[in-house]
């Protein structure tokens, strides 16, 4: 079995008096492509956002590359190794596409302008957007913005990529181009944790599917088993609605 990259231990999260995550423990291995699925409001996004401490859990711990994310003195350094892609893209609208990609590497990884730009152009080329380098985010379509957001995270050379419903805000015809980029990443053995409603992606690309409902970690399975042989009632009820 591959090396453990992220270890989630008895994670609890409460907002006010509402418990959104109940005692979740899971291990994420190097090279895993994990799809987290479940009904709306099940705590999927909260779980993902706990992994890089954008949300602070009420109880429990997250160990990333041997270090506690929650008790780390320098969570900023750990976050450099955990790329994140958001539903709303969250590109920096006051910067060109190229600057969006080079800001992190230049300021945080202390790369030279030339080095950072060379790497950024290579990444843009990879997602077919090298001709957009000089444009600004709001001049791009949603699908293009999301592809830029993915390579912005990749520019930091992360060890894991977290995706928070990356295709949910996209027009249907743009979903494919973003999923394709994610497929390519998976083929390159990038470790990925993906909160998604794209059952096709979960089935074809991921090697593990985690199912959450009402803040409980109900089950996990290989996609084949999850989609075709799962006997859990709640999973079956969910699948009957989405498939």
């Amino acid at each position: 079995m591959a090396e453990v990259l992220i270890k989630v231990e008895h994670l609890h999260k409460k907002f006010k008096n509402q418990e959104v995550l109940h005692d979740i423990s899971v291990e994420i291995h190097k090279g895993d492509v994990i799809s987290i699925i479940g009904p709306s409001g099940s705590g999927k996004s909260t779980f993902l956002r706990c992994l890089n401490a954008l949300e602070s859990p009420t109880k429990g711990d997250i160990i990333f590359e041997g270090q506690s994310v929650l008790r780390s003195k320098n969570v900023d350094v750990l976050r450099q190794k955990m790329g994140m892609v958001f539903q709303q893209f969250n590109l920096f609208p006051h910067m060109s596409i190229l600057d969006n990609l080079t800001l992190g590497p230049r300021k945080l990884l202390k790369k030279s302008k030339e080095e950072a730009e060379e790497k950024a152009m290579a990444l843009l080329k990879r997602v077919g957007l090298e001709d957009k380098a000089g444009q600004f985010p709001l001049q791009l379509s949603g699908g293009q913005q999301q592809r830029v957001a993915i390579v912005r995270a990749l520019a930091m050379e992360p060890d894991v990529m977290l995706f928070d419903e990356p295709t949910s805000a996209l027009d249907p015809e743009m979903v494919g181009e973003v999923l394709q980029v994610m497929r390519d990443l998976a083929e390159e053995k990038m470790t990925m944790v993906v909160v998604t409603h794209e059952m096709g992606f979960a089935r074809e690309v991921s090697n593990r599917v985690l199912f959450l409902e009402d803040g409980y970690f109900i089950t996990e399975a290989a996609p084949e088993d999850f989609f075709y042989h799962c006997e859990n009632e709640r999973v079956q009820s969910f699948l009957s609605k989405v498939l």
């Binding site: 955990m82 600004f136 930091m156």
Partner: protein
């Protein structure tokens, strides 16, 4: 009397233009330094307040700032000015100009702070999250990502505050500062001519505020929002 005679009497005779020049100088000095204090302190307060709004951190600092804003925005600037001059800086080693700078600066800071706060709050939360997820600290994200966008959004409101400030300094005469307004008043009392000195003063203020408007337009052009498509 003809217009020329009016102008001669109020501006040239007995070198009365010197009153206006001296007044303009004091008005500009007070405005300039008060503006610096206002912007610097306003930024700090605005940051503290929006940090509290967004993260819940700095409760005590936020409380102090809020108290400060309530007082500064809730009482007339001219009263604050007189309190500073007659109650706090009572030693006359402090000139009226100095006290004016302090009073107008602290007063303006309250307004700038709320403008900055509204600017920061207008930036979607996702921008902070995107910055943090790349590995930037809260402060770095503020500096590279939030503030450049926030300042751009509040530019018109900030310049509006500058224009208000320059006109507000017209009450500096209350603490024995011979500012532009006072200069006009002195000349009026010498020449018993009301129209010419007051219109002269009004015109100078107008030119100053128009300069600010011009500056604003230039800055907005420089900030040209290419990103809006």
């Amino acid at each position: 009397m003809s217009l020329q005679e009016h102008l001669y009497m109020n501006l040239v005779q007995d070198k009365r233009y010197l009153y206006f020049l001296e007044g303009l100088k004091n008005t500009l000095i007070i405005t300039f330094f008060a503006l610096l204090i206002g912007v610097a302190l306003g930024f700090v307060i605005g940051m503290i307040r929006s940090t509290y709004d967004r993260t819940g951190k700095g409760k005590i600092a936020n409380g102090i700032c809020q108290f400060y804003l309530t007082i500064m925005r809730g009482t007339p600037a001219v009263i604050q000015l007189m309190i500073f001059y007659y109650c706090i800086f009572t030693s006359r080693i402090f000139s009226g100009v100095f006290v004016g700078i302090i009073a107008f600066g602290l007063n303006s800071a309250a307004y700038v702070a709320e403008i900055i706060r509204s600017g920061i709050m207008s930036i979607p939360k996702g921008q902070m999250e995107a910055g943090r997820s790349l590995g930037f600290s809260y402060g770095e994200t503020m500096r590279y990502i939030i503030m450049p966008q926030a300042v751009r959004n509040v530019l018109p409101a900030i310049f509006n505050e500058f224009i208000v400030l320059i006109k507000e300094t017209a009450v500096a005469g209350y603490v024995a500062v011979q500012d532009l307004t006072k200069a006009g008043d002195i000349v009026r009392s010498r020449t018993y001519d009301s129209w010419t000195p007051l219109l002269t003063v009004a015109l100078i203020y107008l030119i100053l505020t128009m300069f600010f408007s011009f500056l604003e337009k230039k800055m907005e052009e420089a900030f040209q929002r290419k990103e809006r498509g």
